[in-house]
Amino acid sequence: MYTASDLRKGLKVIIDGEPYIVTAFEFSKPGKGQALYRTKLRNMITGLSIDRTYREGETFDPASLEERAMQFLYKEGDHYHFMDNETYEQIIISEESLGEAKSFLIDNLNVKVLLFGERAIGVELPNFVNLRVMKTDPWVRGDTSKADFKPGTLETGYVLRVPPFIEEGELITIDTRTGEFSKRVKE
C-alpha cells in the first residue's frame, strides 16, 4: 500500500482497477494549509492521461505487473519490437504505450517488459543508459559568459541539457528516471 507522500514520478498504482503510472508530480502546500499532491497519471492500457490531486493520508494499491526480461530489437514506424530473452518470442509495443521510455531505447538494450494480464503495456528501463550526443554546440574553453547548460540531441532524437564541456559524438550516461544528464562516459 502506498500513501500520498510516496507519490513520485514513475510510481505505478491501481486506480479504478486499472494500472496507472505517475508521469508528472508536484507537491504543494498553500500557507498553513494541507499538503496536496498534484499528479498527472497515464493509464498504462489506454495511454490516456488524467490529472488528479491527492491529499496527505490517501492510499493506493501498487499496480503489480508481471515483468519479463526482454531485449529491444528495432523500431518500425510506431511499433517497437522486443524479444523475450528466455523464449525468444517477439512482441510489439506501440509508441504511445512506451511513453517517455522511447527516448532512451537503443538497439539491443535489455529492459523489463511490463505485462498487465497478457498484455504488454510498457517497459521498465535500466536506471542508467548510455547514449551518444549527435548534435550540440561546441565548447569555447574559458568562456564563462555562456549558460551553465546547453541543449544536446541524442541518437534517439531526445533533447536534454548537457554541461558545456560535452562535445558532439560523445557517449553520455542518462538517468532514465529523471531524463537528465548523469555523467560523461570515458571511451
Partner: protein, 307 residues
C-alpha cells in the same frame, strides 16, 4: 570540471544568495532591529493542523522560530529578526525542502497593514542592493516592484477568479485545492501581491479582525504565483491561544497525526507580549525570485537527495 558539477555550477547562484542575505541583514540593522538566534531544537512545536515537526530524540527540530521569538517579544525585545534553518517533515517538491531557510521578524506596534509596507520596503531594498532596478523577470512574468504593491482580500480573490466562494470551499474542505489550483497561479504576475484576511480557522496564531471576526488579520505575499511570506497581527491573548492550539491538535488527531504537547512556557508568557506584528519569509524562495530559478534546488548548496 569538478566531479560534482551540479554543485559547481551553482556557484554563481550561491554567491548571489549570500549577497541577498547580506542585504536583508543590512535592512534590519539600519531599521534598528536586533538579530537574534533562538534554539533550533525545542521540546514542543506549536500545534498546527498541517505542519509536522521532525523529531530529534524526545524533542523536535523547530518548524519556525515563532514561539521563541515571541517569548523574546514578551520579555521586552521590541524589534527582532532572525534568519535560520527550519525543518518540516515530508515537505519536498520543486518549491519545498524539508530543511529550508526562514527569515522571521517581529515588531511591537502597528498592524498587519503596516507590516505589508515594511515587507515591500525590505524586498525593494534587497532588489536595489543586488543591482536590480524597478523590474524583475520571474517565471516569464515581468514584475514591477514599484510601490504600492497590489492588495486583495481572500474574499475578493475568490470572487475574481474561480468557481466557488470562500464559505463553500471551506464547507466542502476544498479551500486549499481552490487556492493552489485556481488562485495562487494568478497572484502577483504584474506586481507583487498581498492577499489578506484569511478565514479565521487558517490563522492559528493570528489576531482576528475586530470588524469581522470570521477572518484573521493575516496575509501572504505572492510574486509570479509563488508564495513568499506569511505575516499577521499577532494574537497576544494566552487563553484564546490555548483554545486555538487545542483545536489544532484536535484536527491533527482527526487526520491521524501525532498531537503535540502544549507549549506551556510560551503560553504563560504570551500575555506580556505587546500588540505586535510578525512575519515569516521563505529565503530560498526569495532567492528563487531574484535569480529566476525554476526550482528551489537551484538556490541551495545541497538538497537532501544529494547528501
Amino acid at each position: 570540471m569538478a566531479k560534482n558539477w551540479p554543485l559547481a555550477r551553482r556557484k554563481k547562484a550561491l554567491q548571489q544568495r549570500a549577497h541577498i542575505l547580506r542585504e536583508i541583514r543590512q535592512f534590519f540593522i539600519e531599521k534598528g532591529y536586533l538579530e537574534v538566534e533562538t534554539s533550533h531544537r525545542i521540546p514542543t512545536p506549536a500545534p498546527e493542523s498541517h505542519i509536522d515537526a521532525v523529531p530529534s530524540s524526545t524533542w523536535f527540530l523547530h518548524t519556525s522560530p515563532e514561539l521563541c521569538m515571541k517569548r523574546m517579544m514578551a520579555a521586552g525585545y521590541e524589534k527582532v529578526f532572525q534568519i535560520c534553518r527550519c525543518w518540516r517533515e515530508r515537505e519536498r517538491g520543486s518549491l519545498h525542502l524539508p530543511e529550508f531557510t526562514l527569515l522571521e521578524w517581529y515588531r511591537a506596534g502597528g498592524d498587519y497593514r503596516s507590516l505589508m509596507e515594511e515587507c515591500e520596503k525590505l524586498i525593494r531594498s534587497v532588489a536595489t542592493g543586488i543591482g536590480l532596478g524597478q523590474n524583475l523577470t520571474f517565471r516569464g512574468c515581468k514584475i514591477d516592484l514599484s510601490e504600492p504593491w497590489e492588495r486583495i482580500s481572500v474574499k475578493e480573490a475568490f470572487q475574481r477568479y474561480p468557481r466557488t466562494t470562500v464559505t463553500e470551499a471551506l464547507e466542502k474542505n476544498l479551500f486549499d485545492e481552490v487556492m493552489v489550483q485556481e488562485i495562487e497561479p494568478k497572484l502577483g504576475l504584474r506586481k507583487p501581491m498581498f492577499i489578506y484576511d484569511y478565514p479565521a480557522q487558517r490563522g492559528a496564531l493570528a489576531r482576528l479582525k475586530q470588524e469581522d471576526p470570521t477572518v484573521a488579520e493575516r496575509f501572504e505575499l505572492y510574486m509570479g504565483g509563488l508564495e513568499l511570506a506569511n505575516g499577521f497581527s499577532e494574537l497576544v491573548d494566552s487563553e484564546e491561544q490555548r483554545k486555538r492550539f487545542l483545536m489544532e491538535n484536535e484536527n491533527r488527531q482527526f487526520n491521524g497525526k501525532p498531537i503535540y504537547s502544549m507549549p506551556d512556557r510560551f503560553l504563560a508568557e504570551l500575555d506580556d507580549m505587546p500588540p505586535s506584528v510578525g512575519i515569516a519569509l521563505g529565503v530560498d524562495r526569495l532567492v528563487m525570485v531574484f535569480l529566476d530559478a525554476k526550482t528551489i534546488d537551484e538556490v541551495v548548496a545541497f538538497t537532501p537527495e544529494e547528501l
